[in-house]
Symmetry: C2
Subunit: 417 residues, 2 copies
């Protein structure tokens, strides 16, 4: 515990608001800075200016990840850095906190340490990673994936976006294709501060989430081919009703999730019927099933149960059911010691804390492949995110940033009298 060292939340709040002016969505709190657009470039340049003001060394790698590193007077430049960070790209109609908070809180940690004339043993790095949202270029978490060597640079540069552009060409266009190598230097540890993007902390009136894992994700698209028929003239036993089958699967997913319990979640968010008319039995239905669990074995069990249910329905209603995997990510476990540290530090600061899982993906999960990693969550008002109305109060951000500060201080071996 580094006593009496606290972030300046006013300064941090100011930077969050300044960055939110770039790509601001008029009349809202929100931002639109899709990865590698002009707005993203302008945001990048602003954050780099702030890094330079703090005397940080700037490294830009081949996929456009920007890592600023700060050395105190007594820092050993040969030691691996303690890294924090996140992303500054947004979804098309995003908020000002998602990602940006983690990057700017990192800068605030450094400024707090620097203005006290203190010095860490390890360098401290703050990174912002290219294309975390995946809204313009898939996959999401692209920059951090390339940073840790999970995807080759050439393959990443060749990715085409929703607008037909290529990652490499857009990096060149905005002048953010750097010379630093990919994969990048492995940090001593990686810790990311992020908004929860869910309702749990707010609902339980808790200030800090000590994130111990990221849920595994299974997305399945189910296509049902039945037979179009007149809703009035076709007896029930002669129907092959794709719409009814879609309804049964939607109902079953909730039942399955409830049976499995624990942190299992399941969602049917998309249903499309053909011809989608009041008086016609649907000939075709397409729906998606989103299943998530922190335990991959349970997630596989859920997938198998869903498949079995589809098979049963298929023979019962005499329809064809086709399942297609749209996405599949294994769960990620964060470093136990680091998660314990988040809890310990929060408690010592008298800030309420809860160990929890992340339902969404984050850059920190990529770093979990190569070094100890963990995350700190702060509450999201009404659980909203990916929405201009996304909001976390200055006080909540202050708490989260102070927890981040203490952990960075400890990991970097900050000397403090």
């Amino acid at each position: 515990m580094v006593g009496m060292l606290y972030v300046n939340s006013e300064r941090l709040w100011g930077r969050i608001n300044d960055l939110a002016q770039v790509g601001a969505i008029d009349g809202t709190l929100g931002c639109s800075r899709l990865a590698l657009t002009d707005e993203d470039a302008e945001g990048r340049r602003l954050v780099i200016t702030w890094m330079q003001d703090l005397g940080m060394d700037i490294a830009i790698d081949g996929i456009g990840n920007v890592v600023g590193t700060w050395y105190g007077p007594d820092t050993d430049r040969d030691l691996p850095a303690v890294m924090t960070g996140s992303h500054i790209d947004t979804v098309k109609t995003g908020g000002r906190f998602d990602g940006n908070l983690g990057v700017l809180a990192g800068l605030e940690v450094i400024e707090t340490i620097a203005e006290q004339g203190l010095s860490p043993v390890h360098p401290i790095s703050v990174g912002f990673f290219t294309g975390e949202e995946g809204s313009r270029y898939a996959p999401d978490m692209l920059g951090s994936l390339v940073y840790v060597g999970g995807l080759g640079l050439e393959s990443a540069l060749d990715i085409s976006g929703i607008d037909g552009t290529k990652v490499g060409e857009e990096l060149d266009r905005i002048d953010f294709r750097g010379q630093s190598p990919c994969p990048g230097p492995i940090p001593k540890a990686f810790i990311e501060l992020h908004i929860e993007q869910g309702p749990i902390l707010e609902a339980e009136n808790i200030s800090i989430g000590a994130v111990d894992s990221v849920q595994g994700i299974s997305w399945t698209q189910i296509t049902i081919e039945g037979q179009s028929n007149h809703a009035g003239t076709t007896p029930m036993h002669m129907r092959h009703d794709a719409g009814w089958v879609a309804g049964e699967i939607t109902s079953y997913v909730r039942h399955l999730v409830s049976e499995i319990g624990g942190n299992q979640v399941g969602t049917v968010g998309k249903i499309d019927l053909v011809p989608n008319l009041v008086n016609v039995v649907a000939s075709k239905a397409t729906l998606t099933v989103d299943l998530r669990n922190t335990d991959d074995e349970i997630l596989k069990h859920a997938e198998q149960e869903l498949a079995n249910f589809c098979d049963t329905l298929s023979s019962q209603e005499k329809v064809q059911i086709h399942r297609e995997v749209l996405a599949r990510f294994e769960p990620v476990a964060f470093d136990k010691a680091l998660v314990g540290e988040v809890i310990r530090v929060s408690e010592s600061l008298d800030i309420s804390v809860k160990q929890m899982t992340s339902g969404a993906g984050h850059d920190a999960q990529m770093f979990a492949r190569v070094c100890p990693a963990a995350m700190i969550f702060v509450p999201s008002e009404n659980g909203l995110s990916h929405n201009p109305a996304e909001f976390t109060s200055q006080r909540e951000i202050e708490d989260g940033s102070n927890v981040l500060l203490q952990i960075m201080a400890k990991l970097s071996g900050l000397r403090h009298d």
Copy 2:
């Protein structure tokens, strides 16, 4: 029984095919003659030519219904006519049999009688009624509704269509706004030959349906307002999932129908989710429920049970559920004696027959308000209708038309030695 009198099915088949050339959908058996379009007008003129060739008197009323009346040498012109007929308008991508069969079989009945030099006591009329399909102007069965006085002529002329046109203006444009009065003369009886538009006769290998009733129809649109949330970060117990509720209702409708049994049918043919994305809990869902029964009390019971289920779901998932009646028609019972006649005549012709209900609406149900009415169904291949692939064989049409001929002959008091 008028012995040895049979229709000429080759001639009837020829007229069906000739009329199908008007508004033909290239490369299919189908037709597109929406009510009061140029194609409808051309079809109307062709059928009127055939009526005139048979020496029929043509009456066109204010809503464009065309009724041709035939008198034999010994017919008493003061007696009410025995009427048959149907419609020649089609849905946008319709078949060649729906409606057209009933009109052209009526002409064939007259031609068969006339060429034998026979004479009925009562006049025989064949009508085709404006806008039965309801595809361009709602409600469906518009012309026959106005004919029997169920809707005032001025109101009917003022109806706006899906393309913004008005019935009265389009009638003027195609020159089919006639002088005959609405409501029209009440016939002695009305009997309509129609394709089944369902799979029952084919499945049971039966040639004739003696239609004793038309199902009551209840269409409800259900709108569910829940809350949009992240599919990964929102615990199940904190969801207000409009998509799940839509699935439950879809599943429940089948369950309800099965519990009620009998001829109850129920269909969810339309489901729309918002925002309809794989990883977002739906904030809103709209679905339709089509319920039909020949017994209005049971239909009301089904509607009430559905409403109760929605109320239960609404409190369980904490979503708003709004129900709106899109359409509601009471069941129609046809004349028992006339239905019995269809059965008796079929059996005496050695044609298999089954008493059954109609799941779809027909012009005959409007005439049931003012005179004895019934219908004769012939099989639909694969139960298909409102589809260019709609098909009924020449042999099946011949059987149906011979049943129609015998009944018309008997009702009109045909003298035959």
